[in-house]
């Protein structure tokens, strides 16, 4: 086996991204959908860090981007949880099938 290089890391991040996408499209529970979103965000982070390390080692931009993405992901997760709790209060369920109020 060869030395793991950029391509390997990118493979990991791509796979994780699409696992997250699959999870988002398939899951029925809002919280599990949120978990899939977190996977997607993490894959993006890996991407940034990998590019930073292998292609542009003279800068730290990728790293900083990842830091900010993490921060924003945290904020977004918090807001999402707040919304889910609110939704739970009004619909007594967090099944995404029950949130079709904005139908035609």
């Amino acid at each position: 086996m060869m030395e793991p290089g950029l391509n390997h890391v990118l493979f990991i991040s791509t796979a994780l991204f699409f696992i997250g996408v699959f999870g988002f499209l398939t899951r029925r529970n809002l919280i599990t959908m949120l978990m899939s979103i977190e996977l997607v965000l993490n894959s993006v982070n890996i991407n940034f860090v990998a590019f930073n390390k292998y292609l542009w080692p003279h800068k730290l931009d990728g790293l900083f981007f990842s830091i900010f993405v993490i921060a924003i992901a945290a904020a977004e997760a918090a807001v999402a949880i707040a919304i889910i709790i609110n939704l739970y209060r009004s619909h007594q369920s967090i099944d995404v099938e029950n949130t079709e109020d904005l139908k035609f």
Binding site: V21, F24, L25, V96, L102, K103
Partner: protein
């Protein structure tokens, strides 16, 4: 407008109105009456509508009489031949250099005569209606319709262009429709006016096609030019129209027969007569004006107007005379069995128009052989007078006893003296008893028939015998027969406004026979010597008197002689009583044949195929939109998958296709 035809309108002070304006005022005054009464009558002129219309019409009548006086005695004649004068003409629609619809006024003997007839009878009807239609809710509307009718009829007789005549022809049909359906809350009246309009409209199709054929071959729509081009044998137009043929009949005959069909519809000749008896649903003065004296003779007028062309086609004249004599006999037979006085008079009208028609049919163009033409016009003139009188008299009777049926009448001579005398005069006139008007005009018709076609002569003679029989049957049933029992309070005869027209018309019916018509109206405009053959007139007079005495024997006293005779002629009587089932035949054709074979499939096609197509398009749209609607499902994951698919698609697009 000819400058040199200055007419001094009033003898005292000369208005200097030239002929064109005076002639234009004649139809325009009733038109103004129609417009004003139609628009403002119901609100502002409830009481005064009648007086207003009558005044307008009396001015019109005066102008017509003045025109007639001037035309016949002063300026109409040129070297002993009456000229066709066109004082007013203006081009309206130009289709091509030769063919245009002009609007103009044509004066010639028949149109001037008709002007006098129409305005005079219309005036009598206007005066009569002041009393007869008093208290009607829609009094002003009635007078406005009368004004419309008078305008249309006057326009018709004064037209100088065949298409203009067609326009007024249709207008007359519309006015008739409006007036028959005047009592629109009666379903029978509504049905009658629709029937009249539809039948005459259907006949007018023939008229229109005839006009088109004539104008196609002669290249013009103007009467004078039309006659000029199609009556000279050497002209190219005549050659082309006479040589072009369709199923072995020349185009000229086709055109004339089609035009005659239009005339036959309007004049209620067999077999397009079925609307005339039903048209009696209208008010009686309307029946007097339209369906006795003026509109129904429009067909006769049309043939007379185009007579020079008709005389070029022997076949067309034959058609005219055969239809005429058939209608005359047919109607006379039916009239002997009817019990509603207005319907008897309607069939009588149809019979007399048949007389006029066949008289035109046996006529030649000029000289001695042109007697038929003059006789027809003469009979038109006298018939207008006595038929209007008969209808107005019938109106007076109906007004008195509030019923149309003969069985409710009888012994009315004590209660309605003036009506009685005038009705008697009219009956004597129509029966051809000298010295009343009908005798002279009928004798001339019979003479013309005698000289041309003996079969027609014998049938006409028999018909005139029948005429006097059924007229006097009517007379005796109304005024003699049984004693009248008055129900409720008996009011007297109608007021003097109803009596004046009766008296004036009876004077006309009595004296009009003495007018030497041949001097004024003839086929070629020249003087026609009408010799009075004493021995010839014995036969019709004898037959007439025989008819009178038969009727007297059967109807003067109450008896069952009429019933016995009717019983002995059993099936024939039934046929005649049911008007030979012509109405039923038409019903059969329209309902069973046309509706089922043409109407229903057409309706099915329209509903299912045409409508179905539109509905299918609509349903398609609904279906598609339902599908598209599904995109907005409110499901986030569905949105996400579409999003993803779109992104992947775009990526593929950008990377591989649009490098």
């Amino acid at each position: 407008m000819n400058e040199f035809l200055q007419i001094k309108l009033l003898g005292i002070f000369s208005l200097g109105m030239d002929l064109g304006w005076a002639l234009l005022m004649i139809p325009l005054l009733p038109l103004i009456g129609f417009l004003l009464l139609g628009l403002f009558g119901r609100k502002y002129m409830k009481q005064s509508a009648g007086i207003f219309a009558t005044l307008l019409l009396s001015v019109s009548a005066f102008l017509s009489l003045h025109t007639a006086y001037g035309y016949f005695f002063k300026y109409g004649k040129l070297e002993g031949v009456y000229q066709k004068i066109i004082p007013v003409q203006f081009t309206w629609l130009q289709f091509s250099p030769g063919v245009s619809i002009d609007l103009g006024i044509l004066l010639d003997p028949i149109s001037v005569m008709m002007l006098v007839v129409v305005t005079f009878i219309s005036l009598m009807v206007h005066i009569y209606s002041l009393a007869y239609m008093k208290g009607e809710e829609r009094f002003p509307t009635y007078y406005s319709f009368l004004g419309l009718f008078t305008f249309s009829m006057l326009g018709l007789v004064m037209s100088s262009n065949i298409f203009q005549l067609y326009i007024f022809w249709e207008l007359v049909g519309v006015s008739s429709f409006l007036l028959i359906g005047y009592y629109y809350d009666r379903p029978s009246a509504v049905a009658a006016c629709k029937k009249a309009f539809i039948i005459t409209r259907f006949a007018d199709l023939g008229f229109l096609i005839g006009i088109l054929i004539l104008s196609f071959y002669s290249g013009t729509l103007d009467f004078n030019t039309l006659i000029e081009k199609l009556t000279s044998i050497e002209s190219t137009e005549f050659k082309s129209i006479a040589s072009a043929s369709f199923i072995g009949i020349s185009a000229l005959t086709w055109a004339l027969v089609l035009v005659f069909i239009g005339g036959a519809g309007k004049s209620a000749l067999f077999p397009l007569h079925v609307w005339l008896p039903d048209a009696m649903e209208g008010p009686t003065p309307v029946s007097a004006l339209i369906h006795a004296a003026t509109m129904v003779v429009a067909g006769v007028f049309l043939v007379a107007r185009l007579f020079p062309i008709f005389s070029m086609s022997e076949a067309a004249l034959n058609v005219v005379s055969i239809i005429g004599i058939t209608s005359a006999l047919f109607a006379a037979v039916i009239a002997c069995t009817q019990t509603d006085i207005k319907r008897v008079l309607a069939y009588s009208t149809m019979s007399q128009i048949g007389f006029m028609m066949f008289s035109l049919g046996v006529s030649g163009q000029g000289g001695e052989s042109g007697l038929g033409f003059t006789a027809a016009m003469f009979h038109l003139f006298t018939h207008a007078l006595f038929k209007a009188l008969l209808f107005l008299g019938a109106g007076s009777v109906i007004h008195f006893i509030h019923s149309n049926e003969m069985k409710d009448m009888g012994g009315l001579r004590k209660y309605l003296p003036i009506t009685h005398i005038t009705f008697l005069i009219a009956c004597l006139a129509i029966s051809g008893v000298p010295p009343f008007a009908g005798f002279f005009s009928k004798e001339e018709i019979l003479l013309a028939a005698y000289h041309h076609n003996m079969t027609i002569y014998w049938i006409a003679l028999a018909t005139s015998g029948l005429t006097s029989f059924y007229m006097f049957r009517l007379y005796f049933s109304i005024f003699w027969n049984k004693e009248y029992i008055a129900h409720g309070e008996a009011h007297g005869e109608g007021g003097f406004l109803m009596m004046i027209p009766l008296i004036l018309l009876s004077l006309g019916a009595a004296a009009a026979g003495f007018i030497p018509f041949g001097e004024y109206v003839s086929a070629d405009g020249k003087l026609l010597e009408s010799a009075f053959h004493l021995q010839f007139s014995i036969a019709p007079v004898v037959l007439g008197l025989a008819g009178i005495f038969t009727a007297m024997w059967m109807y003067k006293k109450q008896s069952n002689r009429s019933d016995t005779i009717a019983y002995s002629l059993n099936s024939f009587y039934k046929l005649a009583f049911h008007k030979f089932y012509i109405d039923e035949f038409y019903f059969f054709i329209t309902k069973k044949v046309l509706f089922n074979l043409v109407g229903r499939p057409a309706a099915w096609f329209d509903k299912n195929v045409v409508n179905g197509l539109i509905n299918a398009i609509g349903n398609c749209t609904i279906f598609l939109s339902e599908k598209v609607k599904g995109f907005q499902s409110g499901k986030v994951q569905q949105y996400a998958i579409y999003f993803l698919a779109g992104v992947i698609g775009l990526v593929v697009l950008f990377i591989y296709i649009w490098k």
